[in-house]
């Protein structure tokens, strides 16, 4: 489907979604509370069939966090990007690891690096950081480590 067709289809599924222009892919802004139901529709809707989550990450904007999901369909080869704003002090979002299993590892990485709490994740533990890591999340912009960090 082309970008315009995708837009029409997605508005039908989720009227509260807003779109961002300009990027390479179609960017969709979604509220955190709608995400899980919307993700299921993206995966299961016949005409959309977004079965491959090729990138899952988070961006710290100092005022808020943004979750970024890059999705593609191996059948139709169309791509979208879903963005979800999260509260920086208490970031919480539903896990999508039941829908796309690659999200399991990627969400664990975001959990330790950004401190996002994924609800209903099957196994939310530290993946890369050492066990018993205390303190802040390293990929946040205000993270300071006077011993190991080199500023250029």
């Amino acid at each position: 489907m082309s970008g315009e067709e995708l837009k029409i289809k997605i508005i039908q599924l989720l009227p509260s979604a807003t779109f961002e222009e300009g990027g390479e892919f179609l960017n969709i802004n979604v509220e955190a509370k709608d995400w899980l139901a919307f993700a299921k529709q993206l995966r299961n809707e016949e005409a959309l069939f977004f079965d491959y989550l090729f990138c899952l990450t988070c961006i710290d904007w100092n005022t808020h966090l943004t979750m970024v999901y890059h999705l593609t369909s191996t059948k139709f080869r169309h791509n979208i990007v879903v963005k979800i704003k999260l509260d920086r002090n208490n970031p919480e979002i539903e896990s999508v690891s039941q829908i796309w299993r690659t999200a399991d590892f990627h969400e664990r990485e975001v959990y330790e690096m950004f401190g996002v709490n994924f609800l209903n994740h099957p196994d939310l533990r530290l993946l890369i950081l050492p066990d018993g890591w205390e303190g802040k999340n390293p990929m946040r912009k205000d993270f300071e480590d006077p011993v190991n960090m080199i500023k250029l």
Binding site: G22, E24, Y52, T57, H70, W100, D131, K151
Partner: protein
């Protein structure tokens, strides 16, 4: 500070250990210093007898937070760090980053640079697969193939050394093209390599592929269905062994790949042997690409004219390339400055590894090594 002690004291938590005691399961550590993990990968394997119940990867032993490091490096500097990610396909990592910066700058690359880039990528792919082939056979107990593989790989490294000045972390691709023009001997030496390779590749099949012991250990082991491969985000030869068409060179062609004739290798069995065959046959496709280009390197500049200080406009840029292990994505978020605001590397190894638990459940411990071999794991690529 480091966690080895804690892990050796008691793997997993108290609850898991009590459960293991009750059911008679055995929990063993594979790695972080195990010869078959090709680096510092730590797997906690739950066994019942000899049957695998669960494989739990513990990562981070070589985590250098390259993403965080890149946030304080300029668009020219950060590319050099990425050579250290997947060190077996350093050229292709550099290529992905250079492409992403070029997309942001909307820069046109001279055709000579494009052809040189593709040539280097394919040579890297062959070198990477050669090392994988040797290491894979060694994992299964055959030591000799390793030397056979390195015989050819050294020739490629010599070619790289002549043109790029380095054998492993080349740092040859820069935004705008390549760092320096190819060495005058380059074409001749690559052609010599092609002759050598074609003579020697038959030995690979004679020595390993046709071996009945080898086949018995590979066939029907580590099955991954096409749906699972997509769901776990597997790419590269790992997914193509399950019949998933995912070659970025074909699907989203970059540089001159759309003008070349080569095939995407697909196998449908989804077992270790299928993944093995995909990689082995992929080397021949790379040879085909090199043959088409080596006599047709266009004249012209090897680098486009760029400003001394690169500044990307505000926005988001995503590129993907096909490395030897699969799809590498580079996601740059720019705020208009000299350094990226946020950079994310979607590394193929990280996603491929996540499928290991699913593949290994129910098979024997000895087969785990064969499965890991066919995933072609490079640990710095997983940890970043």
């Amino acid at each position: 500070m480091y966690r080895e002690n804690e892990i050796m004291d008691g793997i997993a938590d108290e609850k898991a250990r009590r459960e293991a005691d009750e059911t008679g399961d055995l929990i063993i550590n594979m790695g972080p210093q195990h010869p078959a993990t090709h680096g510092v990968l730590h797997l906690v394997v739950t066994l019942n007898g000899e049957t695998i119940k669960k494989v739990e990867p513990h990562l981070g032993y070589i985590h250098r937070s390259i993403e965080k490091m890149c946030e304080s490096l300029t668009y020219r500097q950060f590319i050099y760090v990425t050579s250290r990610m997947d060190y077996l396909s350093a050229h292709i990592n550099n290529h992905a980053c250079a492409l992403c910066v070029e997309k942001g700058l909307q820069l046109e690359i001279p055709e000579r640079a494009q052809v040189i880039r593709v040539l280097m990528d394919e040579l890297t792919r062959i070198a990477s697969h050669e090392l994988w082939w040797g290491a894979m056979a060694m994992d299964l107990g055959a030591f000799t193939p390793f030397f056979h593989a390195f015989r050819e790989r050294e020739t490629i490294n010599d070619i790289m050394e002549e043109t790029c000045g380095a054998r492993l972390t080349m740092n040859y691709m820069v935004p705008g093209g390549v760092m320096a023009d190819i060495h005058p001997n380059f074409q001749k030496r690559v052609k010599d390599f092609l002759i050598l390779y074609k003579r020697k590749i038959k030995e690979y099949d004679e020595l390993v592929t046709g071996n009945i012991i080898f086949q018995n250990r590979m066939k029907g082991v580590g099955y991954l269905s096409a749906e699972d491969a997509i769901s776990y985000g597997c790419t590269g030869p790992t997914a193509r062994g399950s019949g998933v068409s995912c070659d970025i060179r074909k699907l989203y062609p970059y540089e001159v790949y759309n003008k070349l004739s080569f095939d995407e290798i697909l196998e449908t069995e989804g077992d270790s042997f299928a993944r093995y065959m995909v990689r082995l046959r992929e080397m021949n496709e790379s040879i085909k690409i090199i043959e088409q280009l080596i006599d047709n390197i266009p004249e012209g500049d090897f680098q486009a004219k760029t400003k001394a200080v690169l500044k990307l406009p505000k926005g988001e840029f995503y590129t993907r390339v096909e490395t030897a292990r699969g799809e590498l994505g580079v996601y740059i978020v720019s705020e208009g400055g000299m350094t990226p605001y946020r950079i994310k590397f979607r590394s193929p190894g990280f996603s491929n590894l996540s499928a290991l638990d699913h593949m290994a459940r129910g098979s024997k411990l000895g087969d785990l090594v064969a499965m890991m071999g066919t995933l072609d794991l490079v640990i710095p690529d997983i940890d970043r």
